[in-house]
């Protein structure tokens, strides 16, 4: 089983084909940004992209995704920050932070296909991601901020912008 993760091919032939992608990422590859929350695709904490579509990795057996492209939070912008991540820091969205990698993957996927989403579109795209701490107000604000930044840029240009900026958090807003 060869799976491409964050642009790199990984041979997972030794793994159980029933193993959900989530546990392969976490235990076999050390990519722990995707989180285990429910195991039944109810909470969205494990959200990653499969060929640019946000999916619940806890319900995705390795055997079903051979040859597919997976993007995890670690691969969204590497050590740099995607505009969505940047907006997440600017709005100080997180409380415990456990769900936020999944939230960000859903939000970034939404803005990739719709850079100027309405509130209804945001609600629709984010309804599958639970935040137990209740940071929803800030999630909406952050998506709208990121959307403002992204409008008019092609995805390639967004990538360039991300690569040019190496910012860190922990700043006053």
């Amino acid at each position: 089983m060869q799976i491409n993760i964050n642009g790199k091919a990984h041979d997972l032939s030794g793994a159980d084909p029933d193993m959900p992608l989530l546990w392969a990422l976490r235990d076999l590859l050390g990519l722990v940004g995707a989180k285990y929350g429910c195991g039944v695709a109810q909470c969205g904490a494990c959200t990653v992209w499969l060929d640019d579509i946000p999916v619940r990795s806890c319900q995705l057996p390795l055997g079903a995704i051979t040859g597919r492209e997976v993007t995890t939070i670690e691969g969204l912008a590497g050590d740099a920050l995607h505009p969505v991540q940047e907006a997440w820091i600017a709005h100080d969205v997180a409380q415990c932070g456990y769900c936020q990698a999944g939230q960000i993957m859903s939000a970034a996927a939404l803005l990739k296909r719709n850079p100027n989403p309405s509130l209804e579109a945001i609600e629709g795209a984010m309804a599958g991601n639970i935040c137990r701490c209740g940071t929803y107000t800030r999630i909406v604000d952050a998506i709208q901020t990121a959307s403002t930044r992204l409008q008019g840029l092609s995805f390639y240009e967004v990538g360039q912008e991300v690569a040019e900026r190496q910012t860190d958090g922990g700043v006053s807003v």
Binding site: G30, E74, C96, G97, R132, G170
Partner: protein, 737 residues
């Protein structure tokens, strides 16, 4: 992490949230244990360490499970130290009572308990830097002052950074408490500002900072299967069959203790009996559960049925007084006899689960002489003491490392999963990561116990509240203590506010484990009392706000100088502010309503107004919530506001459709499809106002939760005329959309 398998994770990144420069990734167990007592170079005290390159490291003493104290507490130190926040690097302090006192997350106490200590620590470190500069420059100390991260000699204009001064400053004697002058509030640069969570940059990158992310060399993975009927223990299991599965390293029975676990956080060393399955990775262990068959001994297990508990409790709550008196003030019997009218209502709340998003996990390495654990416990100090007791080892042989937790809400106060991990590790002779499944988390919680209130009020001819009876029906495992749900709170309404008060209590037996759930006790009292006060206002024909203001009685601080006691002046200010912000009294379209709730808990005076609409299908939309609070001074405005926004969402989430039911001692809900959490589209608009206040700061994690349910239920009444007396509101056929 994961034996260095991940190129995306840099060692430095984990250090930031590890213990004083100790690396989980390369250090392993020996290094961690050895370094536990070593004071790092350039430490001015247990909280402040300054590097030569200018980085100012501040230790965060208490566990952070999302309440923001890893930002707020270091901010307090940084303010008095006069550190530039841009230079500050937050690290998690080691668990060490000799240096950090009680390290726990609970009761919204972190900021309140540490306010004086941390200001002193910051100010003392600053003073050592100043004295060091005075000595080096040969100038009087009084001519020196600080600007962010540097010392300034105003007459000469000479400056030196903290980093340049720190080596010599470590030689200075540590100033005593009275020797340093704390900043005047007007001079604050940081406190009260909006500061981004210190972990934000790691969180958004998905870096390994949570308990579930911990990995140590040679670690194996375990799952632990317990009896669904709480308190049952295994007799036999098909262990050989499980052990033969690929990737399974071992499967074994832990006899454990029969009977339900105890919420005695200090004393309990209960380990529930069960079957441990240990594997080469988490998935292999989980999958093997499908093949496991266990024969359980349920002779000492719970046989609870939540329907029976409720029926018994409701029947008791229908009586005006209970088995024993809790409080009697004035002459309640004659007040009721003389009243113009008596209003009654029975209020009920269900069992609820914490459902923190990160299920319990713990990495443990236990040998015959030492135990080391990495845990997101809210009480890591108690983890240490109960492990020492369980393994009969001295406290020094137990090392506990605090790790960020993915939500707490009271669920991580108990340490039973820490003990389970340690017992499994000792059996294996290796470090073990125990991972609970979501289903384990929901089945083996310490639930918020249900509470029932038989309320009666006496009103005078002019509609004044003259008497108050509350027959509190509490669930109890021993017939003596109420299990958190409906205990007794002192120094609060209605004591000494209503002239004649009678509070009595009846206990209903239950074996289901119960414990503290966000804003314990207050979260059920608030719903009952604040909804009932609205009923009384209606009965008296008065505006709810006016009635509530009057019901608070005279201006009074119940126990002056005790922030944990009600101050009716602060209470009325919060009610006035929130009603003004929400436009109380404005014309509301048909089918819509505004509702008000106030509650004092965890030293916070919090008032809330909700605007809802209710349609013919009993669908409830919570449009907007306003909250005004006197929390004292605010430490981190962004963090406190976030806690309040989250508390509102949590309150709506819980009242909508969260209930745990029990049949034959087993929990019936298994996962989020049966125990729904509020989602983004249902989330209301939230407006938070913190009132200007000179009182010391109090915690923001809990006090905004209790008023949510009554504010919304009162709004539902105003929208459709129907009184909700039972939570969740789904029980009356309402649905939050």
């Amino acid at each position: 992490m994961s034996a260095g398998a991940s190129p995306g994770i840099k060692r430095r990144d984990f250090l930031r949230y590890s213990s004083f420069g100790l690396a989980l990734s390369s250090g392993g167990i020996t290094v961690l244990a050895a370094a536990k007592t070593a004071a790092p170079a350039n430490s001015l005290n247990p909280y402040v360490m300054i590097h030569d390159d200018g980085r100012i490291v501040i230790a965060a003493p208490n566990p952070d499970v999302g309440q923001g104290v890893n930002t707020a507490l270091p901010m307090i130190v940084a303010e008095e130290l006069d550190a530039d926040w841009q230079d500050v690097e937050v690290i998690l302090a080691p668990i060490d009572a000799s240096r950090y006192g009680a390290q726990f997350a609970g009761g919204s106490l972190s900021v309140r308990n540490r306010w004086d200590e941390l200001r002193q620590m910051g100010a003392a470190a600053r003073e050592m830097l100043l004295r060091s500069a005075a000595q080096q420059w040969g100038v009087p100390r009084v001519e020196l002052t600080t600007q962010p991260s540097k010392v300034l000699h105003t007459p000469s204009g000479r400056t030196a950074s903290f980093a340049e001064l720190v080596a010599a400053a470590t030689e200075q004697p540590v100033p005593a408490d009275g020797e340093v002058v704390l900043k005047a509030r007007a001079d604050y640069r940081l406190l009260g500002q909006r500061v981004v969570n210190a972990a934000a940059a790691d969180i958004v990158r998905g870096r390994p900072i949570f308990g579930i992310d911990v990995s140590v060399p040679d670690m194996v993975y375990a799952t632990y299967v317990k009896c669904p009927q709480v308190g049952g223990v295994p007799k036999t299991a098909n262990l050989d069959e499980v052990k033969a599965l690929p990737g399974i390293l071992d499967a074994f029975i832990i006899a454990g203790n029969a009977g339900p676990p105890s919420f005695d956080l200090r004393k309990s060393i209960h380990v529930a009996g069960g079957v441990a399955i240990v594997a080469s990775n988490t998935w292999v262990a989980i999958k093997a559960r499908r093949s496991l068959q266990v024969d359980w001994d349920t002779s000492a297990a719970s046989t609870d049925d939540s329907r029976a508990i409720e029926a018994t409790a409701l029947s008791a709550a229908g009586r005006p007084t209970g088995e024993r008196d809790v409080k009697r003030l004035g002459d309640p019997d004659s007040a009721f006899a003389k009243s113009s009218s008596i209003v009654s209502g029975v209020y009920a709340t269900d069992f609820v689960s914490h459902a923190q998003l990160e299920p319990q996990s713990c990495v443990a390495h236990a040998t015959s002489t030492e135990v080391e654990v990495w845990t997101s416990s809210q009480t890591p100090g108690f983890a240490q003491s109960t492990l020492a007791k369980l393994f009969e080892l001295p406290a020094e042989a137990i090392a506990v490392h605090q790790i960020r937790g993915g939500g707490g809400f009271g669920r991580r106060l108990s340490n039973e999963y820490v003990r389970e991990a340690a017992v499994i590790s000792k059996h294996m002779g290796k470090p073990v990561k125990l991972q609970w499944m979501r289903e384990d988390d929901m089945a083996f919680d310490f639930y918020r116990s249900p509470a029932y209130f038989g309320l009666q009020a006496a009103l005078s001819e002019t509609g004044e509240l003259t008497g108050w009876r509350n027959h509190v029906v509490s669930v109890s495992s021993d017939g003596e203590e109420a299990n958190y749900g409906a205990g007794y709170r002192g120094y609060n309404f209605p004591d000494d506010v209503v002239p004649n008060v009678h509070i009595s209590q009846t206990m209903v037996a239950s074996k289901t484990p119960t414990g503290a759930w966000r804003a314990p006790i207050s979260n059920v009292y608030a719903f009952a009392e604040q909804s009932f006060l609205h009923e009384l206002a209606e009965a008296a024909g008065k505006d709810h706000r006016d009635f509530l203001m009057a019901a608070l009685g005279a201006d009074k601080w119940f126990k002056p100088d005790d922030l944990a006691s009600l101050n009716t002046v602060r209470a009325r200010k919060a009610i006035a502010a929130v009603t003004q912000a929400a436009g109380w009294g404005r014309a509301i379209p048909k089918g819509r309503g505004l509702g008000l709730g106030f509650f004092f808990s965890h030293a916070g005076h919090v008032a809330e107004v909700a605007e809802v609409s209710v349609n013919a299908d009993r669908q409830v939309t919570v449009h907007e919530v306003w909250v005004a609070a006197d929390l004292g001074q605010i430490v981190n405005l962004s963090g406190a506001e976030n806690q309040f926004q989250g508390s509102i969402v949590d309150g709506v989430s819980a009242l909508a459709d969260q209930r745990i039911s029990i049949r034959s001692g087993a929990i019936e809900q298994t996962n989020f499809h049966q125990y729904p959490l509020l989602r983004l589209p249902q989330s209301p608009k939230i407006n938070v106002e913190f009132l200007a206040s000179d009182y010391p700061p109090s915690g923001a994690g809990e006090p905004a939760l209790p008023p949510v349910a009554p504010a919304i239920c009162n709004a539902v009444f105003n929208a459709c005329g129907e009184r909700i007396r039972s939570l969740p509101i789904s029980r009356a056929g309402f649905k939050v959309v």
